[in-house]
């Protein structure tokens, strides 16, 4: 018998007992539906996080700070002369002053000398007093820590140009109304005034061009994103009046490492930095909790879906055993007429695969339909604060994996009944009443 005939026959055999096949298919639909939906949610959230990653930093950079030996909630900390001796107090206006120990040039040199560190850059921290547009009300604004390679999701305009000579800034969209812009497009190209306090205590201002407006994000920084020229200009203003000879200090340092060397190498590097008295945090560490929670939820839901599929595959076994029983004489006749046992096996296992295919395709289609409805409903309500988040994403590879996986499970379920049919002795099948 030709393979095409086997498939055609298996198809029509599957529909001989429509109710029985329909119920078995329904069980598979439920499993495939759940599996597609949970995977879709996982993919939706993962891709959102991935697209937000660029907004926080780059994956071959870790942020290094001095480890502060202080136990939360255990009362006043004892004075440690060494701690002071080893650090220079941060200048006024540096973020974290008083709560964090700054890094000096010596620290940067020490970091650069550490094995596994490719490059070190001190994060020159600038604290703004306010941002103002067109002499309107001033608002507080924080500058995001700047790491080359970072990108934010934009509502309008462009990313800042790192190499531009002119100062540029990307504002969070939450500032649009406050600063008196009609919409995001209106803000792009306009000039805003930034104010800060220098080392002498005088308030100074600087002007900068708004090149883009950032969408609010789940994780991405809430501050404005400056370009290098702006940071340098503001930093220069901030240091006016600082005692000459006082070393430049940094709130933190960005340390580049070889991300391709693998997780173990990264962990080893972090351990070495910890031993030296630094705290090193990679992007993965920052995201780790969120992603691991999401992964776990998706895994648990997938587990339920797979339990449903296992139950459904028992339905397939049952359905096919009944079919084999019903068609005992037919199988006997076909074998008497020279159909090989292998073809008999194929007839029944393809029938199982057909049932699996039907159930998984219907389940996936239902999931896509429901996913679309739920996604758009949520996007307009609960998730409207997070544009760019599509809750349920159906990746072709995942969908294909679900369909093929269910077909494979169905095939496995079909082997038992198919083997029984294949082993049937034609004579006793023909004698079967």
């Amino acid at each position: 018998m030709r393979a095409t005939d086997v498939v055609r026959r298996a198809f029509s055999n599957a529909f001989r007992s429509k109710l029985r096949t329909g119920l078995t298919v329904l069980a598979i639909v439920i499993g495939a539906f759940t599996l597609s939906l949970t995977n879709g949610i996982g993919a939706g959230i993962s891709s959102y996080i991935a697209s937000t990653l660029a907004g926080i930093g780059v994956d071959d950079v870790m942020t290094v700070t001095r480890t502060v030996e202080r136990e939360q909630g255990s009362g006043p900390v004892e004075y440690d002369p060494n701690q002071i001796a080893s650090t220079t107090g941060p200048p006024a206006g540096t973020p974290g002053a008083g709560s964090m120990v700054a890094l000096t040039q010596d620290d940067l040199d020490a970091l650069a000398a550490t094995d596994g560190v490719l490059r070190v850059q001190g994060a020159t921290a600038v604290t703004l007093d306010y941002v103002q547009h067109d002499d309107g009300t001033p608002y507080q604004l924080a500058l995001s820590q700047f790491v080359p390679g970072m990108e934010v999701e934009l509502a309008a305009g462009d990313q800042v140009d790192l190499d531009a000579a002119e100062p540029e800034i990307v504002l969070p969209s939450t500032y649009l109304d406050a600063l008196g812009f009609a919409d995001a497009q209106d803000a792009v190209g306009s000039t805003v005034t930034l104010a800060l306090t220098d080392a002498t205590g005088a308030q100074v201002t600087a002007e900068t061009v708004v090149v883009g407006v950032a969408e609010p994000g789940l994780i991405s920084a809430t501050g404005a994103v400056p370009n290098t020229a702006l940071v340098d200009a503001l930093h220069a203003l901030q240091r006016v009046g600082a005692p000459a000879g006082q070393d430049e200090v940094y709130a933190s340092a960005s340390v580049w490492f070889d991300a391709d060397a693998g997780e173990d190498a990264t962990t080893a590097l972090q351990d070495r930095l910890t031993d030296d008295g630094y705290t090193a945090v990679t992007l993965d560490d920052q995201l780790g909790t969120i992603t691991s929670v999401i992964d776990t939820i998706v895994l648990v839901l997938n587990g339920f879906a797979i339990i449903a599929l296992v139950a459904a595959s028992i339905g397939i076994i049952n359905t096919l055993f009944m079919a084999v029983q019903e068609r005992t004489r037919e199988v006997g006749l076909m074998k008497a007429m020279g159909l090989s046992s292998a073809r008999v096996f194929a007839l029944f296992s393809v029938e199982a695969v057909v049932i699996g295919l039907l159930g998984s395709v219907l389940g996936v289609l239902a999931a896509v339909g429901v996913g679309q409805v739920v996604s758009s409903a949520l996007a307009d309500t609960i998730l409207s604060e997070l544009p760019g988040l599509t809750l349920i994403v159906f990746e072709p590879v995942t969908v294909a994996t679900v369909v093929l996986g269910v077909m494979a499970i169905a095939f496995l379920a079909g082997t038992l009944p198919a083997l029984r049919a294949a082993r049937q002795d034609p004579i006793s099948s023909l004698r079967y009443e």
């Binding site: 018998m1 005939d5 004489r329 076909m334 020279g338 090989s340």
Partner: protein, 234 residues
């Protein structure tokens, strides 16, 4: 008999079961079937007729003894060549019809061709020709279930001859039919035998049917016996 027989059987034995439940259904059969002849296998119920026919048709393996088909000893054949032999050289008519009720008459008739891997178009052409030969071409599209008993048996015979077999094995071909329809079906079988030279092996209780065959053998308790013995026993 001048030429070598089509099927030759020597000291054929078949034992069902083992130990205390063992039952010797055939106890040493010698039989030659010539090409083109019609042979009736007659005997009482339970005498071993069907068992003998199944062995002759290579549907089952004997416990001991040899079956030679066209000079070839069949015990050496593997499953694959046994399947091919049955598919291409034999046609089957059983007492029950063994039609797939939900499938069309044409699909039922062309089943042996589908098994042989003949393309669908040629299957349909040959199927229609076979149905035509038995005068039921107009039923080709009907469901097999919707036919009368006599029509079903014609479908079964069409199916048996569609692959242009050398031998048609018929087990009680008329047992399920009224005597008028039965004799029509008999007529069709003997016509195939005479006009197309298809060898006919018929298992039957029916003395009249046996009498229409070229030759009859009588089976009793797993042995072939002379006719008068059978009559004495009956």
């Amino acid at each position: 008999m001048t030429s070598t027989p089509l099927i030759s059987v020597r000291d054929l034995r078949k034992t069902y079961g083992s130990g205390s439940t063992a039952f010797d259904a055939l106890r040493g059969i010698d039989l030659d079937i010539a090409e083109g002849e019609s042979l009736a296998i007659v005997g009482k119920s339970g005498s071993g007729k069907s068992t003998l026919m199944h062995l002759l048709a290579l549907l089952d393996r004997p416990t001991s003894g040899t079956i030679t088909l066209e000079g070839e000893e069949t015990s050496r054949l593997g499953e694959k060549s046994l399947n091919r032999t049955r598919n291409q050289k034999f046609g089957f008519v059983f007492q029950q019809f063994f039609l797939t009720p939900s499938a069309s008459v044409l699909d039922n008739v062309t089943l042996p061709l589908a098994i042989a891997g003949v393309p669908a178009r040629e299957r349909a052409r040959r199927g229609m020709a076979a149905l035509d030969q038995l005068g039921i071409a107009d039923k080709a599209g009907n469901k097999a279930n919707d036919l009368s008993g006599g029509q079903k048996q014609r479908v079964v015979i069409s199916r048996a001859l569609i692959n242009q077999p050398r031998v048609i094995f018929a087990d009680e071909p008329t047992g399920n039919l009224d005597s008028a329809t039965g004799s029509t079906v008999e007529g069709i079988l003997f016509d195939l035998n005479r006009r197309h030279g298809i060898t006919l092996v018929v298992v039957t209780h029916d003395e009249d049917l046996a009498a229409r065959c070229d030759r009859s053998v009588f089976v009793r308790d797993g042995l072939i016996v002379p006719r008068h013995d059978e009559e004495v026993a009956a």
